[in-house]
């Protein structure tokens, strides 16, 4: 059983490193960064408590929001998905990404207190 899990994982990693374009890997690295940041914040909150709650929330939601927007970006710039995003060029995707981030950061900074 564990054997098959390990083999699946190793196969997955192999495929990932070979067939994923560099651009997407860059975005994936960014996603990993966001994930870790959010996880560390959550860990802190679990350990120490929720004071000040508004700061924790804004930080965590910033991570979550950024992750979601980055995922959207990744989907939209993936050349394999080009068929589904005929009207959205990668540049347009990136511009949307930036605009959405601006709004997100405005809200986050407002809430962070």
């Amino acid at each position: 059983m564990s054997n098959s899990v390990i083999s699946v994982i190793s196969r997955f990693l192999e495929e990932y490193t070979t067939s994923t374009p560099n651009k997407l890997k860059v975005v994936d690295a960014y996603l990993l960064y966001i994930l870790l940041t959010g996880a560390f914040q959550f860990l802190y909150c679990l350990l120490v408590g929720t004071f000040p709650f508004n700061s924790f929330l804004s930080g965590f939601i910033s991570c979550v929001g950024s992750f979601i927007l980055a995922v959207c970006l990744r989907i939209q710039i993936n050349p394999q998905n080009k068929g589904e995003f005929l009207t959205v060029s990668p540049e347009r995707a990136f511009a949307d990404f930036l605009f959405a981030h601006t709004v997100l950061h405005l809200v986050v900074v407002n809430f962070i207190g």
Partner: protein, 619 residues
């Protein structure tokens, strides 16, 4: 002197609730006898004092201040000089003509009054009918209370043959204008002075004409209450009006209000068996010709009638009655007194509350300590007032301390139940005192029992020597009693350490309350939060590492102006976020964001377009 209690019970007539006491009269005289500088003040002072029965020597002042060309001045001089013996004001023909000329419809009521009064007091002839018609004309023109009052006063100087009927009717009309205040006062809204002037004018005219004024007894008393309700007078004219009214009420042909007051408190006792009453008129002159009769005297407690139709005897202007001769029990009695002897008397039925006090004596005071198990008294000691028991009593938790005694009237031997019969135990060492009530049984024998075990809470279980006192008091007792009868040593079980009892002082400052400011939330140690800050920022390093490893395309960085501008603008936006966090509010931020954002957008748009074109070309 005590003011008589007023009882207005429907059928019962009103009695005066305010009157001038002798000290009030003295004060009135003092106000009226103040030094004066002009003729009007002199008039008010001289004539006012004459109303109170005092004559003043001031003829020279009047003569020297008289202005024969002024009707007002002539009036003051004329009336004032009348009250002074052998003070004649010289009258010239011009003066007489002036006065006669003033009597016309065109003069004011006040001028007519002054002219007619001056003519009358100077002994000059008057044309009464002319005056009457002038008065009638003025009354219809000047329909205020003061003017009509002056008309009444003027008419009192006129010949009795003149037609004064219509003017006499004005008294009734004016009386209808009086305001009834609570059934006690009757006065004009114009005030005290006008009311008092009305009283004197009404009686002056009524006496002159010989017709009883249309005022009911109660109205007369109410007018009296109003006029004498004020005991300090603001002005000389107010004092004058009160003196005039007092003189009018004291001596007129129809109504004579009578003032009855007890001499001292209305209390009788064996040492003071006489109930003494003063019966006076309004000017505190004793009515020696009156007959004072007790119609009924009933006990307030038992409602039994003690006296009926008993007369007072008169001695030196005071009416007295030996009430103790009827041997009343101590307590309160309701007296109904009637004054007769003059058909003019008003307010001559009085209700009076009389107190009979007595001395109490304590009989058969027996103190004993009784064992709880047996009901046999172990030691009964009799103590005589005011002595103290020679030995002290000891009572512990197995014993009760008992006391029994009788309270009797010293002179009659009748048993008494005073309002206050207390037993007080006082611990001299700690200052603590405990008070109990002693209650009489059905045979009026007072009993008190102290169960040491049961009552230990009141004593705070503090054992020791307590001084035993008996306190007896009542409104009808002349000799309240505080008697230290004995000392008791009380022994309580489970004695705690006796703490000195501090007398409850309610007025010392209370302990200060320290304000507790809201404590800030517990923060985690700085080390921990710093560690986590580092942890949270560390993935950024990881990101840079990964990007570097992936060979991110830093080299493809074009230096076109739009690209530079875009990156600068973007950096500025991030910087604005930081500034927003630290300093700005949302509105300012949005303002700056709009500016920077639009620049960045334009630049970014251009840059991305260029990128797209480049990509398009390479594909």
């Amino acid at each position: 002197t005590l003011v008589v209690l007023v009882l207005a019970l429907g059928a019962h007539a009103l009695t005066p609730s305010h009157h001038l006491t002798p000290s009030d009269l003295v004060r009135l005289q003092d106000v009226l006898s103040q030094p004066y500088t002009d003729l009007k003040a002199a008039y008010l002072s001289i004539v006012g004092q004459s109303k109170l029965g005092l004559s003043v020597e001031a003829c020279d002042f009047i003569k020297s201040n008289l202005d024969p060309s002024s009707v007002e001045s002539l009036f003051y001089a004329a009336e004032a000089s009348q009250t002074i013996a052998s003070c004649e004001i010289p009258v010239s023909n011009e003066t007489r003509d002036l006065l006669h000329a003033t009597v016309s419809e065109d003069s004011t009521m006040s001028q007519i009054h002054q002219a007619v009064s001056a003519l009358s007091f100077l002994g000059l002839p008057l044309a009464s009918q002319e005056v009457v018609s002038a008065l009638k004309a003025r009354i219809s023109k000047e329909d205020n209370v003061l003017a009509i009052t002056l008309a009444l006063q003027t008419a009192s100087h006129l010949s009795q043959q003149a037609e004064l009927g219509e003017i006499l009717e004005e008294i009734e009309d004016l009386a209808a204008r009086l305001d009834d205040l609570g059934g006690v006062y009757l006065q004009f809204e114009e005030g005290l002075e006008v009311t008092a002037l009305f009283v004197s004018a009404a009686y002056a005219l009524s006496d002159h004409v010989g017709v009883e004024p249309p005022l009911k007894e109660d109205q007369v008393i109410q007018l009296l209450n109003s006029v004498f309700s004020k005991k300090s007078w603001d002005s000389l004219s107010e004092a004058f009006s009160v003196a005039s009214a007092a003189a009018a009420l004291a001596d007129n042909r129809f109504h004579k209000p009578v003032i009855v007051s007890a001499v001292g408190p209305a209390t009788v006792s064996h040492s003071q068996p006489l109930l003494q009453l003063q019966v006076m008129d309004v000017l505190c002159q004793s009515l020696s010709s009156a007959n004072v009769l007790v119609e009924t005297a009933t006990s307030a407690a038992t409602k039994a009638t003690i006296l009926s139709q008993t007369p007072f005897t008169q001695r030196d202007g005071i009416f007295q009655l030996n009430f103790m001769a009827s041997q009343p029990a101590s307590g309160y009695y309701q007296f109904s007194v009637a004054i007769s002897g003059d058909s003019r008397l008003v307010g001559n039925h009085i209700e009076l509350k009389v107190k009979v006090s007595t001395k109490v004596s304590i009989n058969n005071m027996d103190l004993s300590v009784v064992d709880k198990d047996q009901s046999i008294g172990t030691k009964t000691t009799r103590v005589e007032y005011p002595n103290k028991a020679k030995s002290s009593f000891i009572a512990d938790s197995h014993q009760n301390f008992a006391m029994s005694f009788q309270l009797v009237d010293e002179s009659t031997g009748v048993e008494l139940t005073p309002h206050q019969t207390f037993v007080r135990l006082h611990n001299q060492k700690t200052g603590q005192e405990v008070v109990f009530v002693a209650e009489p049984d059905s045979k009026n024998l007072y009993k008190f029992e102290l169960d040491t075990a049961e009552r230990k809470a009141e004593f705070d279980s503090i054992s020791g020597t307590y001084a035993l006192y008996l306190m007896v008091g009542d409104a009808t007792l002349e000799n309240p009693v505080l008697w230290n009868m004995a000392d008791i040593v009380l022994k309580f079980p489970d004695e705690e350490a006796p703490s000195a009892i501090q007398s409850k002082n309610l007025y010392v400052p209370k302990p200060e309350i320290q304000h507790l400011f809201r404590e800030p939330e517990r923060r985690p140690p700085t080390v921990l939060s710093n560690t986590f800050t580092a942890m949270v920022l560390s993935p950024f390093l990881l990101l840079l590492l990964l990007w570097f490893k992936l060979g991110a395309n830093v080299s493809n960085f074009s230096l076109s102006p739009s690209s530079v501008l875009f990156h600068v603008g973007h950096a500025a936006m991030l910087g604005l976020m930081y500034v927003y966090w630290t300093q700005l509010n949302m509105f300012q931020t949005l303002k700056y964001l709009a500016i920077i954002g639009s620049l960045t957008f334009l630049a970014g748009n251009r840059m991305l377009a260029q990128k797209a074109v480049k990509r398009y070309c390479t594909e």
